[in-house]
């Protein structure tokens, strides 16, 4: 806020021109400026797209009082720091950095701009002016696991993983546990593609899984390619991060949707009225951060009802995706009846539960 104004006052026309966007808005009505840094293009139809929907929600909520800007397709690493620094130095009061790999650049810039507030998605390092936030997507996976368990005919579900990190393993386990609650014979086959976004490889992985008998495909990668394959081969699947029914009108049963709208609105309001504090938020179905669109018409009513029981149970706290008894792959009980895994265990999850085939790559 102050640098551009200062430059203008000092008559440094060149400097003001460099920061023209910031300077012009500062002149107008001095709205509260919020910046967003995205790792992908806003049209990725997944992760970044949903963050941008959140940005628009902020803009709609506050209208002329807030000015939002975004920078898309920012590579994780040195470039990210340059972009974040540019936003901070051009008068932004609150900056959201929406990828794990922006963690260290965010903290580095935050040190130099103590008056600017930062929000970093999916990270774990905080500072006085850096908050972190993420979503309990595993809660959504328990819901789609229930649907998969009831709808698979071959009792084989294909799961396309990106990297064997706790975030992804947690999703696989939540899915598998929920699936086997309704169908103890069903199993999950996992194929790792070692990428968040490689449509060709994701499609090949989907084909391999379908060829080996999977009649439902789910994924923890970002492209709609697996769903496209499912549609082509006539099997079922779930969308990832956003509604992907445009790519698979027949195959997509439902989709786990990332919904940052409310969080972004709340945090922006807090920053505007001065109540903003550094904190960690891990929201789920209850807070609306994880959401579902309408179930597809192909989901039978009893399956819908069972999925709703899980979803509502998670929301009102009567059900937890990781409540005992939980068995490991060898069939030994690792969590007794009545036990619930705490967040620390969930955040470091590095084992498969019973019902997942194969070994977890270490």
């Amino acid at each position: 806020m102050s640098i551009s104004v200062y430059l203008k006052r000092a008559g440094l026309v060149f400097g003001a021109a460099v920061l023209s966007a910031a300077a012009m808005s500062a002149q107008a009505a001095d709205p509260f400026k919020v910046g967003f840094v995205y790792v992908g293009p806003v049209g990725d139809h997944g992760w970044t797209y949903r963050h941008d929907v959140g940005r628009k929600a902020v803009q709609d909520e506050f209208g002329a009082d807030v000015e939002t800007t975004f920078v898309e397709s920012v590579p994780e690493g040195a470039d990210a720091e340059r972009v974040i620094r540019k936003l901070a130095s051009s008068g932004h009061d609150l900056i959201y950095t929406t990828s794990f790999g922006f963690m260290n650049p965010t903290l580095k810039v935050a040190r130099d701009f103590p008056n600017v507030k930062f929000e970093h998605a999916t990270g774990y390092k905080r500072a006085d002016n850096v908050s972190t936030y993420g979503a309990r997507f595993y809660e959504g996976r328990a819901v789609i696991g229930t649907i998969a368990g009831m709808m698979t005919k071959t009792n084989t579900v294909g799961y396309i993983g990106s990297f064997p990190i706790p975030e992804v393993v947690r999703g696989i386990n939540a899915f598998t546990i929920a699936m086997r609650k309704v169908n103890p014979d069903a199993e999950v086959k996992v194929v790792w593609v070692n990428s968040w976004y490689d449509p060709g490889k994701e499609a090949d992985a989907a084909k391999a899984l379908i060829d080996q008998g999977a009649d439902i495909i789910t994924q923890h990668t970002d492209s709609p390619a697996p769903l496209q394959v499912a549609e082509e081969r006539g099997v079922l699947g779930f969308g990832q991060a956003s509604d992907m029914s445009a790519f698979a009108p027949k195959s997509q049963l439902t989709s786990i949707i990332d919904n940052w709208d409310q969080y972004y609105v709340d945090r922006t309001r807090a920053a505007m009225d001065g109540t903003w504090e550094s904190m960690d938020t891990w929201g789920g179905l209850a807070s609306g951060m994880v959401a579902f669109p309408e179930y597809s018409a192909d989901v039978p009513d009893d399956v819908k009802a069972a999925a709703e029981v899980v979803r509502e149970g998670i929301i009102d706290g009567s059900f937890h995706p990781f409540q005992g008894p939980i068995l490991n792959q060898a069939g030994e009980e690792i969590l007794p009846e009545g036990g619930i895994y705490d967040d620390k265990t969930l955040l470091g999850m590095n084992f498969y539960v019973q019902g997942v085939q194969g070994e977890l790559p270490q």
């Binding site: 293009p41 049209g43 990725d44 139809h45 797209y49 397709s73 294909g158 086959k189 996992v190 194929v191 790792w192 593609v193 070692n194 990428s195 976004y197 490689d198 449509p199 060709g200 490889k201 994701e202 499609a203 090949d204 992985a205 084909k207 391999a208 899984l209 379908i210 060829d211 080996q212 008998g213 999977a214 492209s223 709609p224 390619a225 496209q228 082509e232 445009a246 790519f247 085939q357 194969g358 070994e359 790559p361």
Partner: protein
């Protein structure tokens, strides 16, 4: 025949086809003595342009032509810089790849997240209905058949025609060819443009058939595999076809292995095309005779016409 096995083979065919296109084009380019490292960039150019045309016109034929033209246009830039202005082929090729990645991302901005139903599969009456053979051989899209046809044509052209002989002569010794009155630069221009068209076709296959959509950098390194493939094939079209199916097969079987619970590190499998290529390079440098016979002797060298 086992259903899984057959489906696996069908998947391998789709994985190998873009490699065949990109590599066969580069093979011709290299046989004319030009090393174009811009395959990846030309593939992406072809992918984005063919998808854009498919989306706006709905015509698969126009889309394929657009992919070829886009690849040729990028190849023309490369040819002008390296052949007419005699810039370094290696540096220019690398620049072409980087340029192609950026340009395709820019052109494709409005195409991200759009679905396209893909190319129609050819249906041959009677033949397509045969039990095993029908699905294996007569149920693909036109581009798959085209990839086989182009390998056969290139093989015939290089080994059986006078024009092919001229092209090889230019690649082996541009000075000798020049002395014989062959227009070296013109031959190399044509070869480079052919290479661009093929890379564009490979890209078109990616965005029209393999995963019918456009995303940034969707070739994901396949252009580099194609370059390795040319060396792996020791500049012979037949071996190139074999190599493409081998490389494609490895990447698909790796995924199948995982689903079956066979624990081979997938990173190792991703390395395999390059590892085998290095092995072939080692063998070539050991054997000065038989294997080396097809390696174009003046590859990568700029030609300065005397008189």
């Amino acid at each position: 025949m086992n259903e899984t096995l057959m489906l696996t083979i069908l998947t391998i065919i789709t994985a190998a086809t873009p490699l065949v296109y990109a590599a066969i084009g580069e093979l011709v380019v290299e046989r004319s003595g030009v090393l174009n490292l811009g395959v990846e960039g030309m593939m992406l150019g072809g992918a984005v342009c063919s998808f854009a045309v498919a989306h706006h016109t709905g015509s698969a034929t126009l889309a394929i032509v657009a992919g070829m033209l886009a690849g040729m246009l990028l190849a023309l830039i490369f040819a002008f810089l390296t052949l007419s202005l005699q810039s370094s082929q290696v540096a220019t090729g690398l620049a072409l790849t980087i340029f192609g990645i950026g340009l395709s991302a820019l052109l494709g901005q409005s195409l991200v997240g759009i679905a396209f139903e893909g190319l129609p599969r050819l249906h041959v009456p009677w033949l397509s209905e045969l039990p095993v053979v029908g699905r294996l051989l007569f149920s693909h899209d036109a581009l798959v058949y085209g990839s086989f046809a182009i390998v056969i044509l290139v093989s015939w052209f290089l080994n059986r025609t006078r024009a092919g002989l001229v092209l090889r002569a230019v690649g082996d010794s541009h000075d000798a060819a020049h002395a014989l009155g062959i227009k070296v630069i013109r031959v190399r221009y044509m070869a480079t443009l052919f290479g661009g068209a093929c890379a564009g076709l490979g890209g078109a296959y990616l965005s029209l058939v393999y995963t019918p959509m456009w995303v940034e950098n969707m070739s994901a390194g396949r252009g580099w595999i194609a370059l390795a493939l040319v060396v792996f094939a020791v500049w012979q079209p037949g071996r190139l076809l074999l190599g493409a199916y081998l490389f494609g097969g490895i990447s698909i079987l790796q995924l199948h292995g995982q689903a079956l619970g066979i624990n081979v590190p997938s990173q190792l499998m991703s390395m395999l095309p390059y590892l085998t290529t290095i092995l072939v390079l080692v063998l070539i440098s050991r054997d000065r005779g038989r294997i080396r016979r097809n390696a174009p002797a003046s590859i990568g060298q700029s030609f300065y016409p005397t008189t």
